[in-house]
């Protein structure tokens, strides 16, 4: 319950944070909202010598409209994202996923960028970010670069963010008018999802013009269910079409086996939840 000792710095700018990273290197960990990092430190599963707190960098907070995308600052708390009207209008899938992310206290403190950077495959934001084609803006000593969602999640708890870099904001292409549903399957409310499916679908006149489906906890990273997306695209909306497409939800997935279910069960869940998510996202 008591972390190992560390030193602490709370820079007030991204530049200063990058400088601190450069100085302390792999002896440091960044703390954003700290809602997953602090349990790790309390249980002494990790013991960095330095903690660099991004909490005092105001420029990392906030949500803005940037033409064809909305931009969410990495340090924006979940509770702010969840109640934001821009997000609700243009990236409804994010709003739905945040609504039941963790619990109210964690949503007050935890941040959008921090959760994505943590890259827990059971985290609720990875699959929606993938489905929406989010772009991750990462600052380093040489300036900023942008990484596509498909390239961001590398492995279990591993992202494209380099050792000397900081995730500053996430750009989410507008999906205005798309239906959205985040189907989360848990045994008790305070649990990470055993499996969850993030679906957002554009329907024009009874035809599915495009569908994006992301999977939570079906592998070591969040996954796109591309076979489902392809099976839906261009089809006229019907129960049979959705059901047949959803059957492909676990294609290529390599889900874990644990206390809550083995891999086969998770594959099955993915198909059921995908069907339900797509049906709900298409107004069913």
């Amino acid at each position: 319950m008591i972390p190992a000792a560390f030193d602490y710095v709370a820079p007030t700018s991204v530049e200063a944070a990058l400088a601190a990273l450069a100085q302390y290197g792999d002896e440091a960990k960044i703390i954003a909202g700290g809602q997953s990092l602090l349990p790790v430190l309390r249980m002494r599963l990790n013991a960095p010598e330095w903690i660099i707190d991004l909490g005092k960098i105001e420029s990392l907070r906030g949500i803005r409209d940037d033409g064809d995308a909305i931009v969410i600052g990495a340090m924006t708390p979940h509770s702010v994202v969840g109640s934001d009207s821009l997000v609700a209008e243009h990236a409804a899938l994010i709003s739905k996923a945040v609504e039941h992310l963790a619990d109210a206290q964690v949503r007050h403190r935890g941040t959008f960028g921090g959760a994505l950077a943590h890259a827990d495959p059971a985290g609720d934001l990875g699959a929606p970010a993938l489905a929406l084609g989010a772009q991750f803006v990462i600052a380093g000593s040489g300036g900023t670069r942008t990484v596509a969602a498909d390239d961001f999640f590398v492995d279990l708890f591993e992202t494209a963010i380099g050792e000397d870099e900081i995730l500053t904001e996430v750009r989410i292409p507008k999906h205005t008018g798309w239906g959205a549903c985040y189907e989360k399957f848990v045994r008790v409310a305070h649990q990470w999802p055993i499996v969850a499916v993030a679906a957002t679908v554009k329907v024009d006149g009874g035809t599915i013009s495009e569908a994006r489906v992301g999977l939570t906890n079906m592998g070591s990273t969040p996954l796109r269910a591309r076979a489902v997306e392809e099976a839906l695209a261009g089809q006229s909306l019907s129960e049979d079409v959705v059901r047949a497409a959803a059957e492909k939800a676990a294609d290529g997935a390599n889900p874990p086996s644990d206390l809550n279910g083995d891999a086969d069960y998770r594959r099955h869940l993915a198909t059921v939840l995908t069907r339900r998510a797509v049906v709900a996202a298409t107004g069913g």
């Binding site: 319950m1 008591i2 972390p3 190992a4 000792a5 560390f6 030193d7 602490y8 709370a10 703390i31 700290g34 809602q35 602090l38 349990p39 430190l41 309390r42 249980m43 903690i51 707190d53 909490g55 509770s79 039941h100 963790a102 619990d103 109210a104 206290q105 964690v106 007050h108 403190r109 409310a189 305070h190």
Partner: protein, 156 residues
């Protein structure tokens, strides 16, 4: 050691703390605010819930240094001028506590819940308290206490 200054339950306090000290440990060990308790080490139980700058957080999941400059309200600062907060009163009235260990966190989260949603449905109450574990009450009377505090009819 890092110097922190903050306001806790209406009083200005300032201390040198180790960066690793959790806010809940600071409250309990340095300020003697033992009303706020520690029930787990994974942030599941919510027993340590306090208000940080007006919203509920789990004080085991905040470093004391991160609360520098902040305003913190604990269960001990909820009653004003000797008068219990409506939620405190409702927990007693509706028997929303037994052993009382989860109660400080449960009350602080309920206060936050009602601030965001003054007339919650039973389902909204239950979801709003999903970050707080209780082992005694089966939650039945906790839900009623929140209904009562919100001025709504209480199911039998």
């Amino acid at each position: 050691m890092t110097r922190i200054s903050l306001n806790v339950d209406g009083a200005s306090v300032s201390d040198d703390v180790e960066p690793r000290m959790l806010l809940v440990q600071y409250l309990r060990e340095r300020l003697g605010k033992t009303g706020t308790v520690i029930g787990c080490d994974t942030s599941n139980c919510g027993a340590c819930t306090v208000h940080l700058n007006g919203t509920s957080v789990k004080s085991c999941n905040v470093l004391a240094v991160q609360a520098d400059g902040a305003e913190v309200t604990t269960i001990e600062g909820l009653a004003k001028d000797g008068k219990l907060h409506a939620v405190q009163e409702s927990f007693r009235e509706c028997h929303g506590l037994q052993c009382g260990f989860c109660t400080p966190g449960m009350i602080m989260q309920s206060v936050d819940l009602l601030k965001e949603n003054p007339k919650p449905s039973e389902e909204e109450i239950r979801l709003g308290l999903e970050g707080n574990l209780c082992r005694c009450t089966g939650y039945h009377n906790i839900v009623r206490a929140v209904q009562h505090a919100s001025g709504q009819a209480v199911n039998s």
